[in-house]
């Protein structure tokens, strides 16, 4: 195997998994409070009262972790014209696996950038709206109408975040060789050439070949 390419340093990886585990806690406890189908998840947290107590703290810790992650990866997530074109042609990739028909990608493709900004927006809404009905610390100071708006926004943002995470996790399973970027921090040169040719050129100093040009 050719020499591996470093994609994430230790700090970014550790932080990513801290946020991921906190998401698991906040997500499961949040779903338990959202729909009775998920109520059994309260057992994981020591019952209903404990779920209610822990959920906001886990969520807050997740947001704090994400803020760090945000600044670790945001510079590679700014949208450009190529991303719009990539997104326009992405049905060929999703529907038929034809990645070769899409414009060449730098460190992140438009789908990855979309997920990043979706996470950012959702967590911002979850953070702000969550304070408005956080019992027993803040809710009593908030007018009931504001609390009603907040719970709806919190539910919508939580739903979109869960959907985004499902897409995020599935993409990592779908595109083979991606998972090791976050578990070991490295990817193979072939993976980089195929999925992120512009980034490959940047980190290796070599052109990525003709694969993505057509």
């Amino acid at each position: 195997m050719a020499r591996l390419i470093r994609r994430y340093d230790d700090g970014t990886r550790i932080n990513h998994w801290v946020v991921a585990l906190l998401f698991l806690g906040a997500g499961l406890s949040g779903l338990a409070l959202f729909h009775p189908l998920f109520w059994p998840f309260t057992g994981l947290f020591g019952g209903g009262q404990w779920t209610r107590i822990l959920h906001p703290f886990i969520g807050l810790a997740m947001v704090i972790g994400f803020v760090v992650l945000f600044f670790q990866v945001v510079r590679d997530n700014f949208w450009n014209r190529g991303d719009t074109e990539w997104l326009r042609r992405s049905p060929r990739l999703v529907g038929a696996g034809r990645e070769d028909e899409l414009p060449p990608v730098a460190k992140y493709n438009a789908g990855q950038k979309g997920v990043f900004w979706l996470f950012t927006l959702c967590l911002l809404v979850l953070l702000v709206s969550g304070f408005f009905f956080w019992e027993p610390w803040f809710a009593s100071a908030v007018p009931i109408l504001v609390r009603r708006i907040a719970v709806v926004l919190h539910a919508i943002a939580g739903f979109l975040l869960v959907l985004g995470v499902i897409i995020h996790v599935y993409a990592a399973i779908w595109v083979k060789g991606s998972m090791r970027a976050m578990t070991r921090g490295t990817v193979t040169p072939a993976w980089a050439r195929r999925h992120h040719p512009l980034w490959y050129r940047e980190v290796s100093g070599r052109p990525a070949g003709d694969a993505p040009e057509r």
Binding site: M1, A2, L31, A32, L33, F34, H35, P36, L37, W39, G47, G48, Q49, T51, R52, V94, G95, A96, G97, R98, E99, D100, F133, E135, P136, A139, S140, I144, L145, R147, R148, I149, V151, V152, A155, I156, F159, V162, L163, I166, I167, Y170, I173, W174, V175, K176, G177, T188, P189, A190, W191, R193, R194, H195, G209, D210, A211, R214
Partner: protein
Amino acid sequence: MSTLQSLDIAARSATTVQPPVARRNVTEVAKLIDVSSCIGCKACQVACMQWNDLRDEVGTNVGQYDNPSDLTPQSWTVMRFAEVQMKQPDESTRLEWLIRKDGCMHCEDPGCLKACPAPGAIVKYSNGIVDFISENCIGCGYCITGCPFDIPRISAVDNRAYKCSLCSDRVAVGMEPACAKVCPTGAIRFGSKDDMLEFGAGRVAELNERGYANAAVYDPPGVGGTHVVYVLQHGDQPGLYNDLPADPTISPLVSLWKGAAKPLAVAGIIGAAIAGFFHYMKVGPIEADEDDGEAPPDARRRNAGNPGGDRDTPRGG
């Protein structure tokens, strides 16, 4: 209060199936509060404290007769005093003291129960009483978000929500609520809802004769009617009675949050996971050929044109 009671449960919070309803010939009850007969003595508040073993903190005088000044986890009913200047037919005004006994209205369609995420923490009995089963309460405050009347209060001591139980423990054994028993003027009555509405209609007719042309029974249809009904001298202006809502309903935001959003979101989440599974089975994984960097361009093209083609090739771990 407690699940150890003999009243049948018609609706249960955070429960998506029908609770047992085999015994359905239960008379719906109601408490009638005739505001026009109330003298503001607060005997009902005392009786409520006594029967329910509640002792609120001694508060401070805030310049009005209301004592305490609001509902609390230890004060499940409060007399709210309103001094209003009512315009008379001859254009003069007359001071009226409108005293409304505030507390849970026991809605037929309870917003608290709809909002509650804890299974069985809020129940509606088949006789119409809405009760908090405190040992199941998780202290999230969603009942406050759902209530159209701003009634439930969360205790800072045990993080559980409290409100009037309509003395469900007394009613279960054939007694009337403590407040109704103690009321010295008969302003608070208790019986079947039909009887209370009939009595209320009689009181409205009497008030009409005495010059209160707009007297009415307050049994708001927006929440399916209530099991606490008022007789109001000025039934056309419920807002005079310390902001009693004119047309209370469960907020559309709460209906969205606890109605359509729940099944749709669950379907969306589970659907996304299932869609991912089948997408993998149909389209298959995307794999980068370890050799493609060294291979001639035309070979790579063939490979790219047949993305699933290399799946049959045995690959090392």
